[in-house]
Amino acid sequence: MKLTPKSAPHTHSGNSISSVMLHVILALLPATLFGVYLFGLPALFIVILTITSCLLAEAIALYLACKAIKPHLLDGSAILTGLLLAMSLPPWAPWWIAVLGGFFAIIIGKQIFGGLGQNVFNPAMLARVALLISFPLEMTTWVDVHPMFSNSSPGFIESLKITFFGIPNLDEISSASLMGQVKTELTLNNSVSSTLLSVNYSPMSTSIGFISGSIGETSSILILLGGLYIMFKRIISWHIPFTMLLTIFLLAALFHFIDGDRYADPFFHILTGGVILGAFFIATDLVTSPNTKLGQIIFAIGIGIFVYIIRTWGGYPEGLGFAILLMNAMTPLIDHYIRPRIYGRDRNGNPIQLSEKSE
């Protein structure tokens, strides 16, 4: 009888994919709940719709691929993708944006590549960018803050109407996001500082979150806290977030120093456009970021550079999605060339030479 013996190790650390995903989702919850508070029930519907369509898309794709559905759905990766996508959508977006986004993210962004662990691009970012290019109007329709439990917040029925039938009185309610406004004003030759003054910009309220934008753009402080939580849990390391934020900061500082009127100050760049969300939760996505620490640093520098270039000289007000996708494409290349040095070998992989010592 041929035995199939069990291989070492015979014990395990207890790590699991679902626990990793769960911790990341937990880290995002405070910011999500705050965002729902800021923008009311329509934001909640969008979050629910995105996550549900992601799960549905995953189930359909798994069924078509003849894979076991339940264990894959339960590992939490589809829920996380849905949550991240929802955090980058306009909070009062129509329902079909959420559904399309969810399906695109999972089916085109993940399952076509072979499922979990096989995708090249971050699925949430891929879906966001696809939606942005295909439906620019709906994806740039931002609204001002309408805190829940206040008079301006829409009630339940009204919220349903907003999500499923569109925003009433669109011209009156919609407002540009902060970044969008600054960029538009620059084309009208109004300096950055005058624009910021006119909207009563204050770094403190921006970081707490009382600005218009997507949920992920608003509360920088809560997202930062969430990011530090998963760093503390050793799910991500400091290399990507720190390097990316530092790169953007330094580039912004350099250009702000050169011409303060044309180029916004570094803190503005860090606090707006969902950069902190991107740095801690999107760029650090385990599947699409490089494996080695040095590779991660290079990756983060690249994202920082692209974000700044696209924001300042590109056509879109915020370039996080594009920057991340571009660097995701470079990840296999980075992984191929940047490898740790093996014990007993030099950087080229040859055994180290014993020095000729006469004892």
Partner: protein, 498 residues
């Protein structure tokens, strides 16, 4: 003492408290001992006894064969009742040639040579005696210790490192040995220093063994600065000898070479103890300390066991308290899962761990999420996730290009993998396939040469046959021609005379 950087590694739960306070007990003499003739790396020992022969404890059962080999001795007195194939303590369940000894209960030792002063022996003599005592690396690697000492005789070494790491969870045999028999270990170290002509030995002990550190420091104090006790951080796999070399000396052993090539000899503390026993009292290696532990064991123990004792007898002694368990020889990180308990204890068996389903790793795995925790955990600096992907596709060659051959199978990567992928299993499989391919290639070359040689030989035979036939034909033709010529001559002379 300044310690150098340690890369990678994991912190598995130690479970050492289950047995670290328990003093070493002696296991009662079993009725039958099953002593395999290969308990070491290298060529198996050749049996020198025959069935029915009476032996005393310490008598030679099999002598070593070849340069890398070790002899095997009788663990007790009795009669050899069989020399046969018996199941080896190996996951495959395959068998080894084994001497079955029926003990007579007297445990009589063979007459030993009067112990000499070990420091009067030459290094060569010391190495010889260590070899004759059958001492092998008792940390689990079972590399014949005499070979290392001979290398020290041929080439000058510069450092001796004694490995008291014992980084595997559950195992406490080295810990107890250091606590209880520190003086003997220090004596063994001094004998080794004398054999290697060195004057300093570093004894590396993990920081989670404070009593052992204390005991060894006390024992080594009178010989300072010869014996230096070094406290190393507790991290798996601290006991990897190349890692210790790097931490203590700052130098790395080049890939493909051993630490001896760097001038550093590494021995386990239990090996040092065995050398002390062999050189001082001429006692060959016939028993060792084994930790029997695990969460499925009611009474964990550290027992001194004779080689050849069946694992089933040990398990009865400690009582297992769960119906479903996994039996592991060694530690849980690198040990072998045994198919059943009817297997003998051998020189490399430093622990028998019985794991319940709560601790034992499960079989289900998911797809790799490229979290690179395995890369952070690998002490060698490899890319486990990349190697695994290539091996899965069957591309063993490219897997070895990124470092498969340097993998020490420490299982740190599998331990941390969130997807529970059996990474080390893939690597062991691939190493086996590559070895098979290599053997196949060698065999192909050999058989091709043989086939060509046979072709050549047949052609030669054909050629010789033809030449011989031609020669015979020529001879016959020449003889015929001669006959004709003679005939013609005779006729002519006849006609002339007429």
């Amino acid at each position: 003492m300044k310690l150098f950087r340690f890369r990678g590694g994991v912190h598995p739960k130690g479970y050492k408290e289950l047995s670290s306070e328990l003093a070493i007990e002696k296991f009662p003499l079993p009725k039958k001992l099953y002593i395999p003739l290969q308990q070491h790396i290298g060529e198996p020992a050749i049996p020198v006894v025959h069935i029915g022969q009476k032996v005393l404890k310490g008598d030679l059962l099999g002598h070593s064969y070849g340069k890398i080999s070790a002899p095997v001795h009788a663990s007790s007195s009795g009669t050899v009742i069989d020399i046969t194939d018996f199941a080896a303590p190996h996951p495959s369940g395959l068998s080894l040639q084994t001497v079955v000894l029926q003990t007579d209960g007297l445990d009589k030792t063979a007459k030993s040579i009067i112990p000499l002063n070990p420091f009067d022996l030459t290094p060569h003599e010391t190495a010889e005696r260590v070899g004759a005592a059958g001492i092998v690396g008792l940390g689990g690697a079972t590399f014949p210790s005499a070979v290392k000492l001979y290398e020290g005789v041929e080439r000058k070494m510069d450092t001796l490192v004694i490995n008291g790491g014992e980084c595997e969870p559950f195992l406490t045999c080295d810990d107890r040995l250091m606590q209880e028999r520190a003086d003997n270990i220090v004596d063994g170290i001094r004998i080794m220093l004398h054999a290697l002509k060195l004057d300093k030995a570093y004894v590396a002990i993990e920081s989670n063994k404070p009593e052992a550190l204390q005991a060894m420091t006390l024992a080594g104090k009178q010989y300072a600065p010869q014996i230096v006790i070094v406290k190393v951080p507790t991290r798996y796999p601290m006991g990897w000898d190349k890692q210790l070399v790097k931490i203590l000396t700052g130098r790395e052993v080049p890939a493909g070479k051993r630490s001896a090539d760097l001038g550093v000899i590494v021995h386990n503390v239990a090996t040092a103890y065995a050398i002390h026993e062999a050189i001082r009292y001429a006692r060959p290696l016939v028993s060792r300390i084994v930790t029997i532990s695990g969460d499925a064991v009611a009474l964990p123990k550290n027992i001194e066991v004779r080689f050849g004792t069946l694992v089933s007898q040990l398990l009865d002694y400690v009582r297992i308290n769960t119906p479903e368990y996994r039996l592991v020889m060694g530690g849980p990180m690198m040990g072998h899962a045994l198919p059943h308990a009817n297997l003998p204890v051998v020189k490399g068996c430093n622990g028998i761990i019985v794991l319940s389903q709560n601790i034992a790793s499960s079989n289900t795995s998911q797809s790799c999420i490229r979290c690179s925790q395995c890369i952070s955990a690998c002490p060698v600096g490899l890319l486990p996730l990349e190697m695994m992907t290539r091996i899965k596709k069957g591309d063993y060659k490219s897997a070895s290009e990124i470092g498969l051959k340097d993998c020490i199978s420490c299982s740190s990567c599998s331990y941390v993998c969130p997807a529970n992928i059996p990474l080390v299993h893939y690597f062991n499989f691939a190493k086996g396939e590559l070895r098979d391919q290599q053997l196949n290639q060698t065999k192909n070359e050999k058989t091709k040469k043989l086939a060509q040689a046979k072709q050549f030989r047949l052609e030669q035979i054909e050629k010789e046959k033809k030449e011989a036939a031609a020669a015979r034909k020529a001879q016959r033709a020449a003889a015929k021609a001669k006959k004709e010529a003679l005939k013609a001559e005779k006729l002519q002379s006849k006609s002339e005379s007429a």
